[in-house]
Amino acid sequence: MAEPGKPILEIKDLCKNFGGIAAVDGLSFMVRRGEILGLLGPNGSGKTTLFNLITGVFESDSGKIIFQEHDITNQLSYKIALKGISRTFQSTKVFYTQTVLDNIATAMIARARTRHISETRRKVADVLDFTHLGDAKTAIAGDLTHAAQRRLMVAMALVEDPDLLLLDEITAGMSGEECNEMIEMAKRIRDRGTTIVLIEHNMRVAMALSDRIVVLNFGKKIAEGKPEEITTNETVLEAYLGREEA
């Protein structure tokens, strides 16, 4: 296994245009193995687009995405997932008409067949426990509370032990207490060895979790560094305040 601290993900000069608007514009940064990287920026600065590019939902116009020494630029989504990248979504995406158990089973299908059934059962029990969903196993996903649904989304992303987890505004719509739960969960995920990149609008969560932060604006990186450095960075403040004024 590679040493901790080496880059697990490298973004190099990544560009993506949508009908003349540059959503991601010559973006370059890297993510170190085992860290929690916060990805911040005003609305529309290209954060979710970046996630979509990494997971193969969009094709980039130019640039490279390198994951654990493999070039995954413009690869098919399912292949990228199999390599060990998982994600959650800004608006909750789960299979609403299926039970929690079926949802997790579906998340495991692609890899479950090459494995003994007892191993699969252990992973399921494990992840249900981890995300506090043990009591809800037979509930229909659509009937769960909002926060529980989001935890289900995390469970589905986690169950196959991804090396890299992309969390897109995971605390959206959560109460203060639910956010705290989520912060705890994220820390435990990192402690188990999964690297995390998280998009967050909730500053408290972002500051509490991130080891480092990258700030985007108009698809470009405008700042990078430790949380304390970012909060005092002029360019960053201007980006957020300027946007609010406009």
Binding site: Y78, Q98, T106
Partner: protein, 320 residues
Amino acid sequence: MDFMSNLLKKKSTYIFLAGLIFVVILPFYSSSYVLRVLITMASGIIAAMCLNVVLGYMGYPSLCQNVFYGVGAYTMALATVKLGFSPWTALALSPIVTFIIGYLAAIPFLKLRSMFFAIATLAFTGVVSAVLVNLPKITGSNAGLRGIPRLVKSDITFFYLEIALILLILILTVLMSRSFWGKILIAIREDEDLAPHFGINTTRYKRLTFAVTSAATGVAGAIFFSYQTFISSNYFTIGSSFTALAVAVVGGGGTALGPIFGGLVVVGAPEAFRGMSEAMSLWRPAFVGVVLVVVILLSPGGIVGIFQSVTSYLKKRGEK
């Protein structure tokens, strides 16, 4: 063994066996006309069961089932009449040819979603229908081809052949729905964009499912037209492509038994009416249409959906 003893405990197993025995005895007490209806109905059920996998489980509203039924049928017809093969050889060829065409069609069409997929498959049916009509030298067009040899001699044996096929497909469908394949199809139906994020190669499974069900439909077509010994392009118009759809929808999408009930209602019931009164037979297509509209608007889960609602309602009342 565990599975077997569980099965023997359930009431529904016995109902199923009783139904099966009934079906097996039925042909001996039926006139040749009724037998013809049964054979036609069984054939429609097979086609609908295949469509059901694509529409009900995978969520793709295919309106071109007819095409594959026809490809299988014409393979049978042309292989025997024009190339002199034996009907059983032709029967073996049918699924192969249909699989290939199904797979080729899957490549462009499965890139489309929902409504566009439906319209494209409808147009596909139109193209194939026009091709069949306009190549009289090959297909015999409307006048058709005669003299297709029968796979088996008697009508009754044909009926059993189809029942056997229905049972086979039923078992396969149930096995599939409980296996990883079924879960993948449901994932595709529920949220096709989400599935690949879990490593599921949706494209491969969509294409295979489409091609395999097409092949099975082709077999059904081959068998039916061997029974009928006569084929013409009249059977494969856009209008007739809706029967399989009606059967699948009315019965209930996404359930293994649905198409069977659908077949009973869509094909069987109107024929039962015909027995009652000449006048009723005039309104047969209207009847099918009405049932289709009522089902799709009030109970999209079809007949099986109604059963499920009723049983769960009764269960709830029982619990009180």
